[in-house]
C-alpha cells in the first residue's frame, strides 16, 4: 500500500481530482449548509482543530505541521491569486476530500459524502468570517506548457538563477536548509524536499506546483513569484518551466514499496568498497524503508524530520558492507556556528544505527524490535557524524532493552564506518567481518539465511538525541547465496527426458518405413 503504488493511486486520484476540479470550476461550488457542517465538525474535526477552530486541540503541540487555525483565515493550499487571502471553496473542499500527505490530516472521501464535505466547507469558512464573501478570483494559468526536456532545462536554469528556488530548496531540491525558516506563528518550517513528491501537501502535478509558485504558501516564507513587487518575479511561461523541472526531480527509485522487505547483499570477489561514493554501489539493488518517530518508549518523540532510509549491501568471502542513505536537510555539526544557527537549540550530531539480533532462532522469535529484550540481546552499530572537536565514529552496543546497554569497542571487533554528506543526503558505509571471535556476543553472518535487521536515524539539528529519533521495525538482510549448478543440470535433464519421450512416442506411431 505504500510507496510506488501510492504514487500510482495518487496519480489516479489526482486525475480524478483534476477532473472533479475542472467540473467544479465550471459549475459554481455546491452550497453547503453551515449548520449541518457544524454537526459534522464537532464529531470529526474538533479533536485537532478545536471547538473554536483555532487548531489548538489536545494534540496540537505533538503535530508537525500543526492543525490549521481556521480563525486566521490563512490557507496554504489555494488557487486564488496571491493578493486574495480567502481561498476558493473548491480549495477547502479538496483538502478535506483528499487530505494532506505527510500530515495528520487524512482523506475524508471514504467517510463523508460530497454534500457533507460542502457543508463542512461552509462551516469552516465562518471561523474567519469568509461566509458572506464573494469567492476570490482564480489565478491565471495562461496556457500550460507540457513537460519536455527543453522545458525542464529552462526550468532548471530559472530555479538556480539568482538562487531563486535553490536558496531554500537547495541545489538539488532536497530542501537542505541554508537558513532557518519559520511560519507566521513562529513555528519552525522546513522547505519541501522536492525529490519526495509523496510528501507534497497537494500533489506534484505541474499544475499544483505552478499554483504554489504563483500564490506562494500563505503564512510561510514561500512567497509568490508572480507578485509584481518581487525581484525574482516569473512570467506565467517561466512558472510552467519551473513546475516541470520540479516534477522531474522525483526520486522514483527510492519510493517505499511495501513488498520489498529484504535487503539483498550480492557477493563480489574483490575487496568491499570502503567509501559511500564507490561506483560499485550503483550496481546494487536499493531497498527503501519508512522511518517513523520513536513514540513507543519514554521519551516519546513526535516531530521527526527524516522519513525514509535506503539500504544497499555487498559481501565478500570475509566481510559485509552496508550502505545507508537518507535525506537530511541539515549537516549537524556541534560547535559549528553556521550549523548551530540553522539548528534547534541544543544541536546534536547526526547519527544512524543498524540493529541485528545476536542469535537467529529457527522459530519465528526475534528480539523485541526496540533494542532487544532480556532473553534476546541485539547488536547495535551506531555511527555518529562528529563535531568540530571530534571526528565521525562508530560505537558498538549490546543491549537487552532500553535500559540494559553494554558499550563495546567497535574497532576491536572490526566494525568500520565512513560517512559522506552531499547536498542534503547522508551516505554511510558500515563494514564488519562476517565472523568475529566472540560468537556469543556478535551476530555471525551466514549466506542464505534471512537475518532480521532494523535501522534508526537521528537528525541532530531537529533535537534528535538519545531516545528521540526515527526508526524502522524489523526487516530482513539476506546474503544472497551462489545459485550453484543444480538448477541448470536439472533443467537440462528435464529437456532431454521430455524430448526422448516425445521422440519415441512419435516414432512408435509412424508407419514403419523401409
Amino acid at each position: 500500500m505504500a510507496g510506488y503504488k501510492n504514487i500510482v493511486n495518487g496519480d489516479i486520484r489526482l486525475m480524478l481530482g483534476v477532473l472533479l476540479l475542472a467540473v467544479a470550476t465550471h459549475s459554481p461550488a455546491k452550497p453547503g449548509d453551515a449548520e449541518q457542517g457544524e454537526q459534522i465538525y464537532s464529531r470529526r474535526c474538533v479533536l485537532c482543530h478545536s471547538d473554536e477552530g483555532d487548531g489548538l486541540g489536545p494534540a496540537a503541540e505533538r503535530l508537525n505541521p500543526p492543525p490549521r487555525d481556521f480563525t486566521a483565515g490563512i490557507y496554504k493550499i489555494k488557487t486564488t491569486g496571491f493578493d486574495d487571502m480567502a481561498p476558493a471553496d473548491e480549495d477547502i473542499f479538496r483538502m478535506i476530500r483528499d487530505g494532506m500527505p505527510g500530515t495528520a490530516m487524512p482523506e475524508w472521501a471514504d467517510v463523508l459524502s460530497e454534500q457533507e464535505i460542502w457543508d463542512l466547507v461552509a462551516y469552516v469558512k465562518t471561523f474567519a468570517g469568509y461566509e458572506g464573501e464573494e469567492p476570490g478570483e482564480q489565478l491565471d494559468y495562461g496556457e500550460q506548457i507540457p513537460s519536455s526536456p527543453e522545458s525542464i532545462e529552462k526550468g532548471k536554469a530559472l530555479y538556480h538563477d539568482q538562487d531563486r528556488c535553490s536558496e531554500c530548496h537547495g541545489k538539488d531540491g532536497k530542501g537542505n536548509a541554508v537558513k532557518r525558516l519559520k511560519d507566521d506563528n513562529g513555528d519552525r518550517t522546513w522547505p519541501r524536499n522536492q525529490t519526495k513528491p509523496w510528501t507534497f501537501r497537494a500533489s506534484n502535478d505541474p499544475k499544483d506546483i505552478f499554483t504554489r509558485i504563483t500564490t506562494g504558501i500563505p503564512g510561510t516564507q514561500m512567497t509568490s513569484f508572480a507578485k509584481p513587487s518581487s525581484e525574482k518575479r516569473l512570467s506565467i511561461e517561466e512558472r510552467w518551466h519551473i513546475a516541470n523541472y520540479v516534477q522531474s526531480l522525483a526520486k522514483i527509485e527510492q519510493v517505499v514499496r511495501a513488498e520489498n522487505t529484504v535487503v539483498k547483499a550480492e557477493k563480489i570477489d574483490d575487496d568491499l568498497p570502503d567509501s559511500p561514493d564507490d561506483p560499485r554501489w550503483q550496481a546494487t539493488q536499493p531497498t527503501t524503508f519508512f522511518l517513523v518517530p520513536q513514540i513507543i518508549a519514554k521519551q516519546r518523540f513526535f516531530t521527526p524530520s527524516n522519513d525514509t532510509i535506503t539500504v544497499r549491501a555487498l559481501y565478500s568471502d570475509t566481510e559485509l558492507a552496508i550502505l545507508l542513505e537518507w535525506d537530511d536537510r541539515t549537516k549537524s555539526i556541534p560547535g559549528n556556528k553556521l550549523a548551530e544557527k540553522i539548528s534547534d537549540a541544543d544541536i546534536g550530531e547526526d547519527a544512524v544505527a543498524i540493529q541485528l539480533p545476536i542469535e537467529i532462532h529457527d522459530s519465528m522469535e526475534k528480539p523485541y524490535f526496540g533494542m532487544g529484550d532480556a532473553n534476546n540481546p541485539v547488536n547495535i552499530w551506531h555511527w555518529h557524524s562528529g563535531t568540530t572537536e571530534t571526528t565521525e565514529g562508530i560505537s558498538l552496543l549490546n543491549s537487552k532493552g532500553f535500559k540494559e546497554i553494554e558499550k563495546r569497542d567497535a574497532a576491536t571487533i572490526g566494525i568500520h564506518a565512513k560517512g559522506l554528506y552531499t547536498e542534503g543526503t547522508w551516505r554511510v558505509v558500515m563494514k564488519r567481518s562476517l565472523t568475529t571471535a566472540e560468537s556469543d556476543k556478535d551476530l555471525q553472518f551466514v549466506s542464505g539465511k534471512f537475518i532480521p535487521i532494523a535501522f534508526a536515524a537521528w537528525d541532530g539539528s531537529n533535537s534528535e538525541k538519545g531516545s528521540r529519533h526515527t526508526m524502522t521495525t524489523w526487516y530482513w538482510l539476506l546474503l544472497k547465496p551462489a545459485t550453484g549448478a543444480k538448477p541448470i543440470i536439472a533443467a537440462l535433464l528435464v529437456i532431454v527426458v521430455i524430448f526422448a519421450l516425445l521422440f519415441f512416442w512419435a516414432r512408435s506411431r509412424q508407419p514403419h518405413r523401409g
Binding site: 495528520a104 529484504v262 516519546r300 523485541y368
Partner: protein, 255 residues
Amino acid sequence: MKIPRLLQAVLVLLGVYFGFILLFDVILKQVIPSSLLNMYMFFVVAGVFMVFTFTEEGAKELLAPIKALVEDPNNKTNRNIVFIILPLLGGAYTYNKLLPSFDAPVELRTIHPAPPASLKAYGKRYDILNLENPYRKFEKEDPERFKELIAEGGAVYIRNCQYCHGDKLDGKGPYAQGLNPMPMNFQDVGTIAQLQESYLFWRIASGGPGLPKEASPWISSMPVWQDFLSEEEIWKVILYLYDYTGHRPRTWGEE
C-alpha cells in the same frame, strides 16, 4: 465456423484461470495465493477433462489434433517445432522452480490471542474475566456525564493513539505504513466489535510486550500504556473507541 474441441477446452481453462485472477486480485483486491490457485486449477482441469471426454466420440475429437500432429507425416515441420518448444518449456520451468527463493519468510501470528486470567498493572492485579469498565454504567445512569467521559477519551486518543490508528480509527494513521504488523483498524467488524472492554484494557495497559508468544510480541509497536496513561484514561479511551465506531463491546450476555 466451429472451434476445434481441443481449443475449446484450452479456452475454458484459460477463462477460468484469468477469471479467478480477475475476481480475487482485481475485484476483491485480495491477491489469491498461488498454492490455492494451483489447487483450484487442478480440480478445474480434472473437471474439464471429464466433461470433454464424456463420450468416446468426444474424447476422440478432443485428441484428434494431437494425434494428427504426432502421426500424420505431412505435419513434420509443426511436429519438429512442438517437439523443440515443449522440452525447452519444461527445462525453463524446472530451472525457475529450483532457483533459490529470495522472498521474505512468511510469518503467521495470532491477532487476537486469548487473554491471561489476570493482569498485573498499576501495582494491582486485575481479574480479566470479571473486569468491567467503571464508566459504562453512566451510559444509562447519567448520559450527560457519559458524553463528557467520551470527549475526554477522545482527547486521550488524539494525543496518543492517532499517529498509528488514525484520526478515523481505521488503522491508517500517519505512521501506520512504517509498522509491521499494521495498527488495528477499529472500524473493522473483526476487531473491537468482537471483544470485551476488559480485553481492550489488557491490550492497552500491557501493550506489545505484554502479548503471549503466539502473537509475536517482539514486532508489535503498541506501547505499554500503563507507563503513560492512568487507569481512568484507558477506560475513557475505550469508551471513545466504541462511541466513534458505533460498535458495541461484547459482554457475557446478561442483557
